[in-house]
């Protein structure tokens, strides 16, 4: 070989190696295999993207890797720790094919320590963690049920851990061990971030004579000032601007639907998950808009999330600045439907929320709800601590 050819070959090899390394690096997933051929094929799959790009190359790489055995499972799991969900599915078809082979079972057992460590690692993306756990479960039926109990607070397994605590509490009740039952339900309540789980744990504790505050736990805003209904024909309500959007004056009266004079009223949402029913609180009506206003106080400035659901649509102003708006008629008020990051100021913060009411379906039996649910929490869904303020319209002109 000539010197120039040698150099060309040398540089080409380096170029290939660099391409592989950069592709793997770009996908944020270092390979755990020492075999460069495996790393290169994983990197080919990592390059699949939108519009079906890279699929035919991925198929070739996938088929080549499918001829390997369980020794590549750790590398596959590491490769799966990526936000490229298309690539993840390519890896997964490969993973499933390898683990389904009868001959692979013993070798899989040898990777148990890696699988367990991987499943434990909450820094990794959720789905491959579940896959690692499922593989242990496949060889050790019943493992998950006991392991999951310690995963309270885990972003992926936390829900199941709370469900486990709730089930353990129920079992303790059946065993007439109320001390243990209370302990399990308390634990479930403390770690629950899902509305249903919070309600369930709270109800169980109540039957055991222990009172907990689900509203505070979730950071639900339940004390409101309301005004409405404003006239908003058909589906114009989301775009129409009424006086409260320009200035909130709790002592003011406004011209409402059908020319009626409307003013702000105080309302406490007594629903156990803080859902505000505007039909009960404001009016049974259609093609209208209502506003809800609340003031809260926090000790220091902080970044939090406002999580809300409303029927219909939802627009939120924080301290006079619009922070969220979504036009979705018939969207339904569902727990944590919309999540928006916001920054609260130290001291007083004001929330103004606009909720529309759409036209009645031509069938009068079709329900037409009008409601709002709004809470303030951290990124993990735990309600933040705040103090509701009750502004006095006689001596305070809000905002």
């Amino acid at each position: 070989m000539k010197r120039s050819d040698e150099l060309r070959t040398f540089f080409r090899s380096w170029a290939i190696l660099l391409t592989v390394v950069s592709a793997v690096h770009a996908a944020d997933k270092p390979s755990s295999t020492d075999d460069p051929a495996v790393a290169e094929q994983l990197a080919v799959i990592a390059r699949v993207g939108p519009l079906g790009a890279g699929s035919s190359e991925a198929r070739i790489a996938r088929d080549a890797l499918a001829r390997r055995g369980p020794e590549i499972l750790p590398a596959l799991l590491v490769a799966m720790d990526t936000r490229n969900v298309v690539a993840v599915n390519w890896y997964r078809t490969l993973f499933e094919e390898i683990v389904s082979r009868e001959s692979a079972q013993e070798s899989i057992q040898q990777t148990r320590a890696f699988l367990l460590e991987y499943a434990r690692d909450a820094r990794r993306t959720s789905r491959p963690r579940c896959l690692a756990l499922a593989l242990i479960e496949r060889n050790e039926p019943g493992f998950t049920a006991t392991w999951i109990a310690d995963r309270l607070g885990d972003p992926e397994f936390g829900y199941e851990a709370v469900a486990h605590a709730l089930a353990a509490g129920e079992q303790a009740l059946r065993d007439k061990n109320t001390v243990l039952a209370k302990s399990e339900f308390r634990k479930a309540f403390e770690y629950a971030r899902d509305g249903n789980q919070v309600s369930q744990a709270a109800a169980k504790l109540k039957t055991l004579g222990e009172s907990v505050d689900a509203v505070k736990h979730l950071g639900l805003v339940v004390d409101w000032w309301l005004v409405g209904p404003f006239e908003a024909p058909e589906k114009t309500g989301f775009a129409l601007v009424f006086e409260p959007e320009q200035r909130v004056d709790l002592a003011a009266t406004h011209s409402g639907k059908d020319g009626k004079s409307i003013g702000w009223i105080r309302h406490h949402a007594s629903d156990k998950l803080g859902q505000l029913n505007l039909i009960d609180a404001v009016a049974t009506t259609r093609e209208a808009v209502a506003y809800a206003y609340a003031e809260i106080e926090v000790p220091q400035a902080q970044s939090v999330q406002v999580r809300c659901g409303a029927d219909d649509n939802c627009t939120i102003w924080l301290n006079g600045r619009k922070v969220f708006g979504r036009e979705q008629w018939l969207n339904g008020t569902r727990f944590d439907r919309f999540i928006t990051p916001i920054t609260l100021s130290a001291g007083k913060n004001t929330f103004l929320v606009k909720i529309c009411q759409g036209p009645q379906h031509r069938d009068p039996e079709v329900p037409n709800p009008w409601s709002l649910q709004l809470r303030l929490c951290n990124a993990e869904g735990r309600g933040i601590v705040f103090r509701p303020i009750s502004p006095n319209p006689d001596d305070e002109r809000a905002q």
Partner: protein
């Protein structure tokens, strides 16, 4: 008759029988069968069955779903979804004769949503095959293409590419095959669109935005006017015709109500569309351009419409059962009511027809068999399967394939 003539006659008869058998052994390649109308030329499907009688096999399914089984020769394809956020997706291939699982692919959905309808989960759209490839679409917005042995060929994560599906019950529209493109109607709260994807590569052929569209779970339909193909989309409050080659909108008919689920059906040169809960049935002459509401609506009937089940046309009759079980038969030519009857139970599944019979399956798994040749309501049988059914049946090769809430059940005679 000489022996040679006898032999010739026997051979001819054998050929006729063989040909007839071949012609009648039709596949069920996607949502609502070979023409997306619920009708097949297949014959010999049993008229009677029970939870055990005429049940050839029964195979358990993971998770939930209301996609209908798809049948191609000796393979049956079905989808399902499960998990707290329904992000665990399943694609299964069963053996037509035994129900044995030939392959089972497990995948993750790109944009899992907690906002799905418990009855259907995120596996509402039915699979689609051309005999070489299988395309599946899920409520997560993911489209997968496999070869018939289960090998992944490509995936599109539409929710990642064009925004998450914001839809009360998750996307439910079933893919349509036009030549070598897979067409998907993606109507939802967010930016709605219709997209044509190269069936071989997954690349876009075209994408047409539908900014005025809103919630809809209806599946696209294909019709032909002279030598022009038209893609027909039933969306909230209107019906649109598109050029399936370019994605250009051709015509619009107004007058539907919000939230359309049923798929338009074809017959007598017309497109029949059902318009949302308590809307109207419309018979529309395809073709034209622009707003053809005043010129192309042949008839309109404001009574007896369904929210979910699609209609079916057999001969000159148009049949529909609404969600509460009121069945109607209208004349295709003028929309006049021929008969109306309250059936037992509630309905989610759409009716199917074969061999001069109509099959209406209710949510309790009871299938009413009606005579499609009769001018009046004529019941032939009522078969109890003993399991809840929300999915529309498939008919292929003298068998019916019913997806219950737990199984795929194959009904036929041995």
């Amino acid at each position: 008759m000489s022996s040679s003539i006898k032999l010739q006659s026997c051979l001819m008869l054998s050929l006729v029988i063989a040909t007839a058998t071949y012609v009648q052994a039709e596949n069920w390649p996607g949502w609502r069968g070979p023409q997306r109308t619920g009708v097949t030329t297949d014959t010999g499907v049993p008229t009677t069955w029970s939870s055990t009688g005429n049940v050839l096999w029964k195979t358990s399914l993971p998770g939930t779903g209301i996609s209908n089984p798809v049948v191609w020769q000796d393979r049956v394809f079905i989808t399902a979804a499960e998990g707290r956020d329904q992000s665990e997706l399943h694609v299964l291939c069963l053996d037509r004769d035994s129900g044995r699982i030939r392959w089972h692919q497990r995948l993750w959905g790109t944009a899992p949503t907690v906002f799905y309808y418990p009855k259907s989960g995120l596996a509402s759209p039915s699979p689609l095959t051309d005999g070489e490839r299988l395309w599946v679409f899920f409520g997560t917005g993911d489209v997968f293409c496999f070869d018939l042995d289960g090998g992944l060929l490509w995936q599109r994560a539409l929710a990642d590419e064009y925004g998450p599906f914001e839809n009360r019950f998750a996307a439910a529209s079933s893919p349509l095959l036009f030549q070598d493109t897979v067409i998907l109607q993606c109507d939802h709260y967010g930016a709605s669109y219709v997209i044509a994807i190269d069936g071989n590569t997954g690349a876009n052929r075209w994408k047409s935005d539908r900014p005025e569209a809103w919630l809809s779970w209806s599946s696209p339909q294909l019709t032909q006017v002279d030598d022009r193909f038209e893609l027909v989309l039933s969306g909230s409050e209107k019906l649109d015709g598109y050029n399936p080659v370019t994605g250009q909108r051709l015509w619009t008919v107004r007058g539907l109500v919000r939230e359309c689920v049923p798929t338009p059906v074809l017959g007598a040169g017309l497109v029949f569309v059902v318009s949302g809960p308590n809307g109207a049935h419309l018979a529309v002459k395809p073709g034209g351009s622009g707003d053809v509401t005043e010129t192309h609506v042949v008839w309109r009937n404001d009574r007896g419409t369904s929210f979910v089940p699609s209609p079916i046309v057999v001969g000159e009759r148009y049949y529909l059962v609404d969600d509460k079980g009121i069945a109607s038969c209208l004349s295709t030519s003028d929309g006049k009511l021929l008969w109306r009857k309250r059936l037992t139970g509630k309905f989610t599944a759409s009716p199917v027809a074969a061999d001069g019979k109509l099959f209406f399956t209710n949510e309790s798994g009871s299938t009413l068999v009606l005579d499609a040749a009769a001018d009046e309501y004529r019941e032939l049988a009522c078969n109890e399967l003993g399991e809840d059914v929300y999915s529309s049946p498939a008919i292929s090769q003298r068998r019916m394939f019913l997806r219950t809430t737990k199984h795929v059940v194959c009904i036929g005679t041995k």
